[in-house]
């Protein structure tokens, strides 16, 4: 009973903070209606920006997760060369700042690709996806490796004894068991990658922070600038907080 009461008590604090912040903003808007109208005017523009953040984060995470699971398995491969290559990749990119990787992918990749005589544009936001997918894959690899190593060897013996190959055992027996252990750190990683998408504004990707800068420059009112950036903060909170709540709920449901 007390165990189930604990998470809800923990969640009360950020919720209270959010409600207080909402109240303060509402009061502020009530005092100056023109500010509210301005915000309402710019809100769709900001929303389009935020959609880009979500798109980048989801794609980067999907790409990074797929690559990371393979890399994590490679880190434990029986072939030494495969193991060494995966470990080198993971160590290099796990320890690189996200911003550096975004800059690197932006300037390394061309702005368009020639394919079968057609010029296919290679937009900046796709480069940002790759720039964030790289650290996501390195971190997912480490999460995967840790989860794989936490599965006791008799599980491998049982799978092999039934005629599973190494890859089949990994796919059907071992990795599904890793899910429970890997989910919480993976969701944390998602939150971190999601916040990292704001860095894409620095290479000109039209996401929320970029849109906020546009808005505050266009309106050029100090109170509006403050309100815009508060809105940005709030948007990230509204998106990332439910993700962390969902993680906790999944963890509890998976802990059978």
């Amino acid at each position: 009973m007390t165990a189930s009461a604990l998470p809800s008590r923990l969640s009360a604090a950020p919720l209270l903070l959010a409600v207080t912040a909402c109240g303060a903003v509402a009061l502020w808007l009530a005092l100056d209606p023109s500010l509210g109208r301005l915000l309402l005017e710019w809100l769709p523009y900001l929303a389009r920006g935020f959609a880009m953040n979500i798109l980048i984060s989801v794609l980067a995470m999907a790409l990074g997760t797929l690559a990371g699971i393979v890399l994590g398995a490679m880190e434990l491969a029986p072939v030494r060369l495969v193991r060494a290559a995966a470990i080198a990749y993971v160590q290099v990119f796990r320890n690189a700042p996200h911003l550096v990787l975004i800059f690197a992918t932006t300037y390394i990749f061309p702005f368009e690709i020639v394919a079968f005589g057609h010029y296919v544009p290679f937009p900046d936001w796709v480069k940002a996806v790759i720039g964030l997918a790289i650290p996501a894959s390195a971190h997912t690899a480490e999460i995967t490796r840790g989860a794989l190593q936490s599965i006791p060897t008799p599980q491998w013996d049982a799978a092999k004894g039934l005629g599973f190959s190494r890859i089949e055992a990994l796919r059907f027996i071992i990795l599904p068991q890793c899910l429970r252990r890997a989910l919480p750190p993976w969701m944390n990683l998602y939150a971190s990658i999601c916040m990292g998408t704001a860095l894409a504004s620095l290479v000109g990707v039209h996401e929320l922070l970029h849109a906020a800068t546009d808005a505050s420059t266009a309106v050029s009112r100090t109170d509006f600038t403050v309100l815009t950036y508060v809105t940005v903060l709030f948007a990230f909170f509204l998106f990332c907080y439910p993700v962390s709540r969902l993680t906790q709920r999944l963890e509890r449901r998976l802990a059978r």
Partner: protein, 260 residues
């Protein structure tokens, strides 16, 4: 049972070392089709290692292992070892069920994924096997919700789902509390009576005596004596075997090991 002309399993002069530690020092052993053979002996004498060599979970450093005409010691590729393991069931001391799958899925996953059976056929076979190990009401349970004896019976059903030619039982009752030993032994007894070729490593002396066609006593990586159960348990000329059998027999006498 009569020993048929070509044994299903034959080990000849099998040696195996873990580093400098020589675990098997020349094992010769045959199991005929339909026969039940028990391996007994003190802990650390290499009993489980013998089983793991037969299904190629371990590779011997020397000697010949033949299963159903296939030279196991000569298998080089994983594909060949997989083909062998599909034909050999193994049941472990710690059950090793897959904790993320229900009882039904534990039994059907290998037939579906490895033998490519269709799901409906695999499930109806699994239900029949669960009926037989008297766990028909546990299809939807997870391993963590079952007692040790129940988990071990599911593990036996999982091995049988592959329709093996041979089942290896590796101290399958050693981790169980005495009350549930009987229900597991009853299942194995039924299998042996139906003619399932079985090789058991066991500490259940009275059970081994009752069901085995042949009993093998190992110590320090060698076979000390083998023969019909009556010979090993009652007429052995070897004082070491007499002492071992008497010691364990006395320990077992206080356990309700033959509950069913």
């Amino acid at each position: 049972m009569t020993a048929s002309s070509t044994p299903l399993v034959a080990l000849e002069d099998v040696h195996l070392s873990f580093g400098a530690n020589e675990v098997l020092k020349g094992i010769d052993l045959t199991v005929a089709r339909g026969e039940a053979v028990s391996i007994i002996g003190p802990s650390g004498s290499g009993k489980s290692t013998i089983l793991r060599c037969i299904n190629a979970l371990l590779a011997p450093s020397r000697g010949r292992i033949t299963v159903n005409g296939v030279r196991v010691d000569a298998l080089r590729s994983e594909a060949e070892r997989i083909a062998l393991r599909k034909r050999i069931g193994i049941v472990f001391q710690q059950y090793n069920l897959f904790p993320h799958l229900t009882v039904l899925d534990n039994i059907t996953i290998a037939p579906i994924r490895i033998l490519k059976e269709n799901r409906a056929a695999a499930e109806s076979h699994a239900r029949a096997l669960l009926e037989r190990v008297r766990l028909a009401d546990k299809v939807a349970a997870y391993p963590g919700q079952l007692s040790g004896g129940q988990q071990q019976r599911v593990a036996i059903a999982r091995a049988l789902a592959m329709r093996p030619d041979l089942v290896l039982f590796d101290e399958v009752t050693s981790a169980l509390d005495p009350e549930t030993v009987g229900e597991v032994l009853a299942v194995i007894r039924g299998l042996v009576r139906e003619g399932m070729t079985s090789l058991l490593v066991t500490h259940e002396m009275r059970f081994a005596e009752e069901i085995s066609d042949k009993v093998v006593f190992t110590e320090n990586g060698r076979i000390v004596e083998e023969g019909p159960p009556a010979q090993i348990f009652h007429r052995s000329g070897n004082p070491r075997i007499r002492q071992f059998v008497r010691g364990l027999g006395a320990r077992e006498a206080v356990q309700p090991g033959e509950g069913i």
